[in-house]
């Protein structure tokens, strides 16, 4: 994950918006018995977007996707595709295709017939089908495997067949339900890049469902975070990481240090929060003014710097730099970065991660070493919920 240095602009993410979005989800809700799987979700998705629905399992993301595909009917709300309500349209009559989690390849058909299945149903001419299938086979690099049955393919190859099959009809929207969950880490990462490349080349609208925040941040231009049936935040990956709307999202996306406290004073764009575990922390006033008295202060580990004596004064801002003293209790070397766990004098823990920019680090910190952890007010985030 890249380490962003500045906060994004105050405006919502850079989304190319036409007058009408390609897909508009309006107050959609779905209950199973008394369980609210999807709870009045509204969302606009523009043509050509790569959108990710991210959330823990059971958060309703798959149910929402299945309503887009037509396998579930919403109890409330509308789903507009190009301005037309499709909430009641049967799956086989929607210009939307889906790539299934376990691929759902037809085991009795070979690769060619799997890919051609949707084209035959569309009543396409035979010659045209052959051309399109050949095109798809080349697109997903399956040349030479057309005659194989699904069980004669590797996991990665099956994933490609599923992708080719769902793309063959050139749907207006492609839904991907945890498309890479069955692949091992290395293959998953390379396939993520290929998916992005493919989406950009085809200019198609992709909606991916995933529980893997790294995957969502890699592939998607916008992410919708879901929890307990609700869409909690829709934002670009950077916004989600640097400006999460809630404590829950801050913890769900990446690592974070959280300190609960009360607002003690505010002046000149600075708020002082008095926390039990880390004393008084000076934070920058967020763009939406803080209204509650009880808040959480969030600091990402990579924003926390360590030093032996404390930060070197740089004149004006040094006054408000937050400094916490403690002892290093854990050092995890992860290759690209090292994560230090610092026990503060209050007994609470603070995590700091530092990029290993030099191959030989003579200055590395070691266990039991006493250090000063410091971060600027701009690196902190005040969360009210």
């Amino acid at each position: 994950m890249a380490e962003p240095q500045v906060l994004p602009a105050a405006k919502p993410g850079p989304l190319p918006r036409a007058n009408m979005p390609l897909l508009r989800i309006e107050g959609v809700a779905k209950k199973f018995g008394s369980f609210r799987a999807v709870d009045r979700v509204s969302l606009d998705i523009a043509a050509g977007e790569f959108f990710a629905l991210l959330g823990p399992s059971g958060c309703g993301k798959t149910t929402l996707l299945r309503m887009l595909a037509g396998f579930e009917t919403p109890d409330e709300g509308r789903i507009l595709l190009g301005g037309k309500d499709i909430a009641q349209v049967l799956p086989h009559e929607r210009p939307i295709n889906m790539m299934f989690q376990n691929y759902a390849l037809f085991p009795h058909l070979n690769v060619r017939d799997n890919i051609a299945f949707g084209l035959r149903r569309a009543g396409m001419a035979k010659a045209e089908i052959n051309t399109r299938v050949a095109e798809m086979v080349t697109l997903v690099k399956l040349d030479g495997l057309e005659k194989r049955k699904p069980d004669q393919l590797s996991g990665g190859q099956r994933q490609r067949v599923a992708l080719a099959r769902s793309l063959a009809r050139r749907p207006q929207v492609l839904l991907l339900d945890e498309p890479l969950a069955a692949l091992d880490k290395k293959l998953r990462e390379s396939t993520q890049l290929e998916l992005m490349e493919l989406q950009r080349r085809l200019g198609m609208t992709f909606i991916i469902v995933t529980h893997d925040q790294e995957e969502a941040m890699t592939v998607a231009s916008r992410i919708g975070v879901m929890d307990a049936g609700r869409l909690d935040q829709v934002a670009t990956p950077r916004e989600l990481y640097e400006a999460p709307l809630s404590r829950w999202i801050a913890e769900f996306i990446g690592e974070v240090n959280l300190f609960d406290g009360e607002v003690r004073s505010r002046e000149a764009g600075r708020i002082v929060v008095s926390t039990r575990d880390a004393g008084a922390i000076t934070v920058a006033e967020p763009r939406n003014p803080v209204t509650k008295a009880t808040v959480s202060v969030a600091i990402r580990p990579e924003k926390v710097k360590l030093s032996r004596r404390g930060p070197v004064s740089d004149g004006t801002s040094s006054q408000s730099i937050n400094r916490l003293e403690g002892v290093i209790t854990d050092v995890s070397y992860l290759g690209g970065l090292t994560v230090y766990k610092v026990r503060l004098d209050s007994g609470a823990y603070l995590r700091s991660s530092m990029a290993n920019t030099a191959r030989i680090d003579v200055d590395a910190y070691s266990l039991s070493q006493r250090v000063v952890a410091w971060f600027t007010p701009d690196d902190c985030l005040v969360l009210e919920q």
Partner: protein, 303 residues
């Protein structure tokens, strides 16, 4: 000693068990029946000649071998009675199996799509009739179908008919009895394949533009063929040899091969002809079995 070595020896013995079973309970009785089918009927104990007597010495045994003939098989081919019985058995089995498939498939499909917690209950409902003796259930049908039986009483009471209808001793009654008795044997293998099928496959077909009817014929049915094959064999083979149901529910104007065999054995006391009838029936039934076995083997190779 490793666990593997401890278990290796009993495992090897256990693998012989099916063969021992086959030899003791199939091949040896089959050899007896085959021998009797090549003998001639006689008023004696046992009621056929020649009889192998090991005590009589080698010469007697070789004389006995010389006395064997295929006359009984000639009779089976030349006499209409037997040919018609075989044909009727095959037709009855074919018709019954088709009806069974048509009725059992939707039931099995419905069961496989029930919520998981209801499936064991549905399964029980299919199996429960087996807890009552088969004969009692057939007699119950006689009760229902007879002249003043339950069915006619209901039809008369609801004024659907003005005269009692003859149900018993008709082919309809026989088909009813057969379909009723064999239904679980068709439902269970179908259910077993359908319940294993990933529901996502049908969704994928619908997603790719297949109408519900196309989803069934292009995905569901082809993938359920192993179950269809098993169910058809499980019903077809025993129905061909069925004796009790046609004897109790059908008319007496035409006989199934099981009835003919019974008559030859018990009424005519012609053990050799009865044995020959059984041998021919076995050969007729082995053909579809071998075919099914080959199909399954091919499917296994694909996987």
């Amino acid at each position: 000693m490793s666990a593997r070595r401890i278990f290796a020896r009993p495992a090897r013995y256990a693998s012989i068990a099916p063969y021992v079973w086959m030899v003791l309970f199939f091949l040896v009785p089959f050899a007896f029946v085959l021998k009797i089918s090549l003998s001639q009927t006689a008023i004696a104990q046992p009621p056929y000649t020649p009889v192998f007597d090991v005590a009589a010495g080698w010469a007697a045994i070789s004389r006995a071998f010389g006395a064997l003939s295929i006359d009984n098989f000639r009779l089976l081919v030349s006499d209409d009675l037997y040919v018609l019985s075989y044909l009727r058995s095959l037709v009855v089995a074919l018709v019954s199996t088709s009806i069974l498939l048509l009725i059992a498939y939707p039931i099995a499909y419905g069961m496989a799509r029930l919520p998981k917690r209801w499936q064991p209950i549905a399964m029980m409902l299919v199996i429960v009739p087996f807890w009552t003796s088969f004969l009692i259930r057939i007699y119950a049908w006689i009760n229902i179908l007879q002249h003043d039986g339950l069915l006619n009483q209901i039809l008369l009471a609801t004024h659907l008919v003005s005269q009692p209808v003859v149900w018993l001793s008709t082919d309809s009654a026989m088909y009813l009895g057969i379909v009723y008795s064999y239904l679980p044997f068709m439902i269970l293998p179908l259910y077993a394949t359908l319940v294993k099928m990933e529901p996502a496959l049908e969704e994928a077909a619908a997603d790719l533009g297949a109408s519900p009817l196309n989803v069934f014929w292009l995905v569901t049915f082809p993938l359920s063929l192993p179950g269809v094959g098993a169910g058809v064999l499980l019903c077809f083979i025993p129905i061909v040899g069925e004796f009790v149901i046609p004897d109790l529910l059908a008319g007496s104007n035409s006989l199934m091969i099981g009835q003919t065999l019974w008559l030859e054995f018990f009424t005519n006391k012609d053990w050799p002809v009865a044995s020959a009838t059984a041998i021919v029936l076995l050969v007729l039934l082995i053909a579809p079995l071998l075919l099914y076995d080959r199909l399954q083997r091919r499917q296994l190779e694909q996987h």
